[in-house]
């Protein structure tokens, strides 16, 4: 099995990529919420498939996920993940007056649009940083068990390995009690172009 391996330098670069991407996305969310959004330090590491749902509370935790496929010079999967409570808070803020127990079609579409804007900011920052050409797919939204919605994120990695590179940043907004996560999972063949674009010092 051809398991990927990250050197310290590679992990540093990917962490920085995540910091810059998530920083721009957090700024976009700050604008939407009209209040400051904070973010954690980004982690970049190789995760066994099993470990990935654990990052956000385990395979059975119910979450809201917005999925964007990244293509162009780099390919991979971008996910914006929220707890149910956070997603409700976000909707209350964006669509005041909507108080249904379930998520309506309008609300799902609003969540998709938020994911689209935040994912777009993230990838835009990544594109500026690397001078690589990147496109994003239309957003797709799912609300279900974390293990089930994250399947899709690791499929491409699954073709060649039993683990995936996960670039993870948490964000939160205190007064509205919204917290979320950005996952960037580069396809296995995309890790190297990304590192090369940033000047690979390991070679």
């Amino acid at each position: 099995m051809n398991e990927p391996n990250l050197s310290d330098w590679q992990a540093d670069v990917l962490r920085e990529v995540g910091n810059i991407g998530a920083g721009h996305a957090a700024m976009a969310l700050s604008t939407l919420l009209q209040s400051e959004v904070r973010m954690s330090v980004t982690s970049a590491r190789i995760c066994q498939f099993d470990e990935i749902p654990d990052v956000i509370g385990g395979a059975e935790a119910v979450i809201v996920a917005v999925f964007l496929r990244m293509s162009g010079d780099l390919s991979g999967n971008m996910m914006f993940l929220l707890s149910l409570a956070s997603a409700k808070q976000l909707i209350n803020h964006l669509l005041p007056g909507e108080e249904a127990e379930d998520f309506t079609e309008l609300e799902m579409s609003a969540l998709g649009e938020v994911g689209n804007i935040l994912g777009g900011s993230y990838l835009n920052a990544l594109s500026l940083l690397t001078s690589l050409r990147l496109q994003q797919s239309v957003p797709a939204v799912a609300i279900d068990m974390a293990g089930a919605v994250l399947d899709i994120g690791i499929l491409m990695a699954g073709e060649v390995a039993d683990s995936a590179v996960l670039i993870h940043t948490s964000i939160w907004q205190g007064t509205t009690n919204i917290d979320g996560h950005f996952f960037l999972l580069p396809d296995p063949d995309s890790g190297m172009p990304l590192l090369q674009a940033l000047g690979n010092r390991d070679e």
Partner: protein, 159 residues
Amino acid sequence: MEVIRVAIADGAVARASDRLRTTGLGSCVGVVLFESRSGLSGMVHVMLPNAPAAGTDRPTKYADVGVDWLVDQLHKAGAKPSQLRAKIAGGAQMFNTQSTNDVLRVGPRNVDAVLNSLNRLEIPLLAADTGGSVGRTIEFDPETETLWVRTAFKGQYGI
């Protein structure tokens, strides 16, 4: 009674007194094979339809070779392959999208690949809860031969 957890892209065999469980099946498929006489059961949690042409050292990741692997393991544990029967769950498409992105449609392809393997190995399929857009956690009770399916919003039911 012990509950044996089966991880993604993994598999296990259980004695009559034990249960097999796997959590958060999305596009992945959980395949359970069991033999009534001995009470032996086995489960794989496959994530992709077809193993690479060059072969694999992880058959439990793939629908096509994962079922063969499980039959082999149960055979080694003392079950008769001709007496095995199957129940399966999973293979959902979690994200509804207009895009023609093939990645998002892997669930139904996984189910097809499992069905092909069961067909080829002449293993009767007694129950299936597949497709749709829901995640599933499954647990097999060898005593009643019930496959319990739990979803996030529709509770638990047996098949």
